[in-house]
Amino acid sequence: MRYLPSSEADRKGMLEAIGIESVEQLFAGIPESLRLRRPLDIPPGLTEPELIQFFRGAAGRNATDFTSFLGAGVYRHHIPVVIDALISRSEFYTAYTPYQAEIAQGTLQAIFEFQTYITQLTGLDVANASLYDGSTGLGEAILMAHRITKRNKVFIAKSVHPEYRAVVATYARNIGIEIELIDFTESGRMDYAAIGKAIDETVAAVVVQTPNFFGTVEENSEIASIAHKHGALSIVNVCEAMSLGILKPPQDADIVVGEAQSLGIPMNFGGPHLGFLATREQFVRQMPGRLVGMGEDQKGRRAFVLTLSTREQHIRREKATSNICTNQSLCALMCAIYLATMGPKGLRHTAEQNIQKTHYAAQQIRARTKHSILFSGPRFNEFVIQLKEDYASRAQRFMRSHIIPGLHIARFYPELGNSLLVCVTETTTRDQIDALVKGLE
C-alpha cells in the first residue's frame, strides 16, 4: 500500500531479526476465538484519482450557490488566503503536541501569541491554549465556577445559544449542578430584575451571552454587580468573536468564554472550530486546558513551554481541572494568523461593516415589508424577524430563488412563533440583502 514504505525485502529482514517466519506469529497472543477471519466489509481501496472523484461528487451534493443568511453560532466571514498557505506547512499541521519544548518552539510561540490576543480582545488577564469549541468551553467555565465557589447552582440567560445550554446541561447534570434559566425582556436582553429576585448564596455563577442568540448586545456590568454582591462569578459567553473587534469587552466578568470560529476559521459544517477561555489571574490554577508560558532555557534564551501542567489529566488524573488532552491547536494558530493579518484597524473595520450592513438590512425590512423586527436592543450582525405568516410557504419560495433567509428558530423558542434569525456579515452584498428583502415583501 502506497503509504507503507517497507518493501518485501525489508519485511523479510525484519522478520529475521525478530527470529520469526511470518507476521502472523506476532498475533499469537490473541486467542483464536477473538480473531477476525474474514476481510473487513468496507469498500475496496481507491486510487488517488478515484478518491478525488468520489469526494468531489460528495462535496458537489452540498449546495454552494445559495445566498445564506445563517448565523446562530457559526459565521461566514472573509478568510485571508495567507492563513491556509501558512497552516498547510507540514511543520505546523503534522507536528505533535509541544511537550518537548526544544523542538516545538514554533507551535509554542504561536499559541502564546494566540493566548495574548485573546486576553487583548476580552480584557482579562490570562487565556488558555484553546478548548474544543464555545459550547464545551461554556461547560468547562461552569465546572470551573463550581470548583472555585463550591456552589451548585448556575443562572443562565435563556438567550444563550440553545445548543450551548444543551451541552451545559449534559456536563452539569452528573455533578449535581442545577441550572436555572433567566428569561429575556422585550429589549432582547437578560432580565436583570429577575436575576436580582432569584439569586442567593447558593449560586456559583450568572451566565449571559453577548451578542446573545438573538443578536442583541448585552451589558454585563449590572449582571456582574448582582452576581458579585452574592459571591457568585460572572461568566460571559461570546459566540460571535468578531464583535470584540469593536464592542467593549464584557465589563467585570470573571470568565469570558466562547467561540472564535469567526476569526479565520471556515464553517466546515460545524467543526473543527475554536473554543477560548479567559479569566482573572487569581483563577489561573482552576483553568482547564493547556497553558503556554514564557521562560528561559539553560543559556538564558527566551523559550516557550507548556506550564502549570499539574492541573491537567496526565498528572492529576481523577483530580484534574478537566479531562481535556487534545484541543484545537491548529485552529488557534489560524486565529493568531487572522488577527496578525487584520490588525486592530482591519478587525474594527470588518466589524463595522457587519454592523452597517445589518443595520441596512433591518431598516429595509422595516420599511419595505410587513414583518416586524423583534427586540429593541442594540445589535451586532444578527436580528430576529417575526414573520406575519407561516414560515413554510415562504421557505419554498426562497429555496427556488436559492436563498436561505435565516434560521427558523421555533425549534428552539416556540414562544416566538414564526421567527427567523437573520445574520448579515461583511461578506453579504447589498444585492443579496435587497433580494432577501424582496423575497420577504
Binding site: 473487513l40 475496496p44 481501496g45 451534493r61 445563517l70 461566514r76 489529566q313 496578525a340
Partner: protein, 496 residues
C-alpha cells in the same frame, strides 16, 4: 556527537520576536471590499458607550510580515514530514496529502451546519459512510461522530453507560480504572459523577482477573480497559473480563487509542466490549496540528444505541439523509452541531484509500515495526514485561539509571540524533518508562537510524553520562527552566 542535526536545529541565526514586538503603525495586510450600503457611522447605529477603542497591543503588520513571521516560527518545529515520532500511545503516522485536498473542497469547508438537509446531502453522506466503516472496523453496532477528541469520547461513553444504568433503576457508584490507564480515563470518570476505583495489574502487565472478580459488585457501573493495553500487551483475558462485568450487570468501556494494532485482525466488539472511543487523529491519521483538532467518535453495541447524543445521522425512505433529533433516551448534546466534520472527511478518505486489505496491512506492519525495534533494543534497555507486545513496546531506564541517566535525558539526547523522543514516564506502573510506537509508515531505514541512535545513547550513558544528562546540545534552544516558568507564570505578552 555535537554536530548540528538539520532535523531539529534549523535556523540558529534567525531569531523571531513575538508578533506584538514587531508591529509598525500604518502597515496593513488585508483590504476589505468597499461598503456597498449607505455609510451610516457606527456611532449613530450603536451608542458610543458600547464601543471600544482599537484593541490595545495588537500589532499592525503587512502581508509579507505575517508570512515571514509564521514561516520562521514553523522552521523551529519537528514534524512528521521531517521524520519519525516514536511516541507510544500517539500513533504518529504519515498524514496523506490527499486528505488535506478533499477536506478543503468548497462544498465541505463553506457548509453551514444549519443548512436545510436537502442542501447538505454530501456532508451527511460522508458522515454516514464514516460511521458505517468505523462500526465495521470495530465490530460494533452504532457510532456517534459528535465527540471532539478522545477524552471527549470517553466522557460521552461513560455518560451513556450512566444513562443505561439509570434506565435500569440506579446509576451505580464506581468505575474501575487500571493503574496503567491514560490520565484522561480517571479524569473522565470524575466528570461523569462516578468515583474512580483503581484496579492493579499483574506482574505480566495485564488486568488482574482474580482481583477483578473480588471487587466487582452491583455498585460498579463499568470498567475502562485499553486493549492492547498501554504496555502494548494484548489483554488475552478480555472476553473473560467482559463476562465477569456483564454477570454483575456492569458494562465494559474500551479506550480505542491502540486500535492501530489490530485493524482487520481482531475487533473490540467481538471481545464483548459495550462501548469504545476511537481517536481519528491516531489510527485514522487526521493530522495532529500541534495539539489538535482531533476527533473522538464513539461506537456502541445495540444496548447503548438509544442513548447516543443528538442528532443522529439517519437515512430517510427515499434515500435522503437528515439529522434526527427525536431520540427520547439520548444523553443530549456533547457539543454544539455535529462533531469535527473537517476531520471526518479526512478519516473517511484514509479508510477509502486503504480498503480492507490496506487497513490490515497497516496493523500488521505497525506490529512488525514495533517488534523489530523491541528485538534490537532488548539488552541495551531493560524490558520490564516480557509478554509479547503488539504495536508499541515499553522499556525502562533502569540500566541507564545506574549511571544517573534517566528517561528524560535519553529523550533529550535523541534530539541531537535528529529524532523526537518517545513517550516518557507513562504508563505510571513502569518507573522510568520509555514507550515506543513507530507506526507502519516508517521505512526500515528510518527504524534502523532510530535503533542506532538509541544504542549509541545507551553506550553514552555508560561512557559519558554527563553528555546525555546535559542534552540536547544541537537544538535551537536547550532545556527550558520549567520550575521557574511555573513559579512565576508569564502566560501572555504585556506592553512594557
Amino acid at each position: 556527537m555535537t554536530k548540528e542535526n538539520p532535523r531539529t536545529s534549523s535556523h540558529f541565526q534567525i531569531n523571531e520576536l513575538l508578533v506584538f514586538e514587531q508591529g509598525m503603525s500604518g502597515r496593513h495586510a488585508f483590504d476589505l471590499p468597499a461598503l456597498d450600503v449607505p455609510a451610516v457611522p457606527v456611532a449613530e447605529i450603536l451608542s458610543p458607550t458600547l464601543l471600544r477603542d482599537d484593541v490595545a497591543g495588537m500589532p499592525e503588520l503587512g502581508e509579507v510580515d505575517v508570512i515571514r513571521h509564521f514561516t520562521r516560527l514553523s522552521t523551529w518545529n519537528y514534524h512528521i514530514d521531517l521524520g519519525l515520532y516514536p511516541l507510544g500511545s500517539c500513533t504518529m503516522k504519515y498524514n496523506p496529502k490527499i486528505n488535506e485536498l478533499v477536506a478543503r473542497l468548497e462544498g465541505f469547508s463553506t457548509a453551514h451546519p444549519y443548512m436545510p438537509a436537502e442542501l447538505s446531502q454530501g456532508a451527511l453522506e460522508v458522515q454516514k459512510m464514516l460511521e458505517t466503516a468505523l462500526a465495521e472496523i470495530t465490530g460494533m453496532d452504532a457510532v456517534t461522530l459528535q465527540p471532539a477528541a478522545g477524552a471527549h469520547g470517553e466522557l460521552t461513553g461513560i455518560l451513556m453507560i450512566r444513562a443505561y444504568h439509570e434506565s435500569k433503576g440506579r446509576p451505580r457508584r464506581t468505575v474501575l480504572v487500571p493503574d496503567s490507564a491514560h490520565g484522561t480515563n480517571p479524569a473522565s470518570v470524575t466528570i461523569s459523577g462516578y468515583e474512580v476505583q483503581n484496579i492493579p495489574s499483574t506482574p505480566h502487565g495485564t488486568v488482574d482477573i482474580a482481583r477483578l472478580r473480588e471487587i466487582v459488585n452491583d455498585d460498579v457501573a463499568a470498567i475502562m480497559v485499553t486493549n492492547p493495553n498501554t504496555l502494548g500487551i494484548f489483554e488475552s483475558d478480555i472476553a473473560e473480563v467482559c463476562e465477569i462485568m456483564h454477570a454483575k450487570g456492569a458494562l465494559v468501556y474500551m479506550d480505542g487509542a491502540n486500535l492501530n494494532a489490530m485493524m482487520g485482525i481482531a475487533r473490540p466488539g467481538d471481545f464483548g466490549i459495550d462501548v469504545l472511543h476511537i481517536n481519528l487523529h491516531k489510527t485514522f491519521t487526521t493530522p495532529h496540528g500541534g495539539g489538535g483538532p482531533g476527533s473522538g467518535p464513539v461506537a456502541v453495541k445495540k444496548i447503548l444505541e438509544p442513548f447516543l447524543p443528538i442528532p443522529v445521522v439517519a437515512l430517510k425512505n427515499g434515500g435522503n439523509y437528515l439529522f434526527d433529533y427525536d431520540r427520547p433516551q439520548s444523553i443530549g448534546k456533547m457539543k454544539a452541531f455535529n462533531g469535527q466534520f473537517g476531520m471526518h472527511v479526512r478519516a473517511l478518505c484514509y479508510i477509502l484509500a486503504n480498503g480492507p486489505a490496506g487497513l490490515k496491512e497497516v496493523s500488521e506492519t505497525a506490529v512488525l515495526n514495533a517488534n523489530y525495534i523491541r528485538a534490537k533494543l532488548t539488552g541495551a534497555y531493560e524490558l520490564p514485561y516480557d509478554s509479547p507486545t503488539l504495536h508499541e513496546v515499553v522499556f525502562s531506564d533502569k540500566l541507564q539509571a545506574r549511571f544517573d541517566v534517566h528517561v528524560a535525558d535519553i529523550g533529550k539526547r535523541l534530539m541531537d540524533y535528529g529524532f523526537h523522543p518517545p513517550t516518557i514516564s507513562f504508563p505510571l506502573i513502569v518507573s522510568g518508562a520509555l514507550m515506543i510506537e513507530p507506526t507502519e509508515t516508517e521505512s526500515r531505514q528510518e527504524l534502523d537510524a532510530f535503533i542506532d541512535a538509541m544504542l549509541a545513547i545507551a553506550k553514552e550513558a555508560e561512557a559519558n553520562p554527563e553528555l546525555v544528562r546535559s542534552a540536547p546540545h544541537t537544538t535551537r534552544i536547550n532545556r527550558v527552566n520549567e520550575a521557574a516558568a511555573a513559579r512565576k507564570p508569564v502566560l501572555r505578552w504585556t506592553q512594557t
